[in-house]
Point group: C2
Chain length 202, copies 2
DNA sequence: GTCTATAGGATGATAGAC
DNA sequence: GTCTATCATCCTATAGAC
């Protein structure tokens, strides 16, 4: 009698997280429509039907991806809020928390893709609700005033855009791009460029 | 002998502009991947194969759409730059020129969709080049300093995001949304809401 | 829990008539 | 210049075995 359990078996919860991470990267790169469930499956090392089986539909998978991204983002903000040890201003700590989300590719970009699909009935509603959740966290929990929130979110959207553009591809080292990025996220430019380099090589 | 020319005939140049306008709206709503050539054809009142015939591929059509959008945007900026009659500050005039592009649906959103597709080989390159064109116009022609450009572009990306989210759909009249939008484009909130209303009704 | 096979639907693009 | 018909591809989702 041989062991019939495949070596690749694991608990559903673990696979779920694995697939969600993979999906985050894929949706971040290709967007909701452009990403295929087969892309996600390949990235996660499972079969395409399994992805669908586990999440029901591609749409539901995407919703879980952006909900997870929101949780990560708000958790990062909450940590920045709680960390009163450093003497760095709150606004700056929050900015760093935002940029730190770039460590996992697709977290911010998946959200960005959702944010420009407001006319999709289901995704649009979720995207608006998610955006407002962030807004209210900044306004209420973090205590930002209206101008601060606007500034903060605007910078965030510019960062998203430049990451989405994949600026490092054609303009790595371009002084104009460098100037723009330093303005948008000083102290973090090196980290961003390094991430881009790592991807190009890997 | 009867007239065999269909009533719908027109010169290619006119149809071209007609289709480009329609495509701008469709791509703005659904994004590059989500928009279909059939959607564009329907919006333009022509057949789907005709759209493909005229532009070669969907990709080339999209490239023409974003190039046209860039031309409109830069032309608007140039006008704001030339108009020295008013005593409004240049930065503000440029901001109004930006928001005025909302009058044609899809101009800003098509660009935004392109901006988050940096990893698409062809579209990504065009998107980066277009973004840098705007950047250099602001920096050199308009004479903005680094911080001004960063601020201006950040506000622009936030505006794009809120338009893309279609905020008016669920949050029309919400005081939080109103506050955020007034911050982002004062004097223009009414115009934007009116456009949203017109769409909902029409 | 995970896979293979495949159905079913949409979509980009071509062929060819008028 | 514009349309109808149609092909080939791709992709989501289902069925069912192990």
């Amino acid at each position: 009698m041989t062991i019939s359990v495949p070596l690749t078996r694991m608990k559903a919860g673990e696979r779920r997280e694995l697939i969600l991470r993979a999906a985050t990267g894929v949706f971040g790169t290709s967007g909701y429509v452009g990403a295929t469930t087969a892309d996600v499956a390949r990235a996660a090392g499972v079969s395409q039907p399994y992805v669908v089986r586990m999440f029901g539909t591609k749409e539901q998978l995407f919703l879980e991806v952006i909900n997870r991204a929101l949780e990560l983002l708000l958790a990062g903000f909450q940590s920045a809020l709680d960390d009163t040890s450093s003497d760095v201003a709150l606004e700056k700590r929050m900015g760093l928390a935002y940029v730190n989300q770039l460590k996992e590719h697709g977290v911010l970009l998946s959200l960005m893709h959702a944010f420009v699909l407001g006319r999709e009935p289901v995704i649009g509603r979720a995207a608006r609700a998610g955006f407002m959740k962030v807004y209210r966290f900044l306004r209420e929990d973090a205590g930002f005033d209206a101008a601060q929130v606007q500034n903060f979110l605007a910078s965030g959207m510019l960062i998203n855009t430049m990451i989405g553009l994949d600026m490092a591809e054609d303009y790595d080292g371009d002084p104009d791009v460098r100037e723009l990025m330093e303005c948008a996220f000083p102290e973090k430019v090196e980290m961003v460029r390094e991430l881009a380099r790592k991807r190009t090589e890997g």
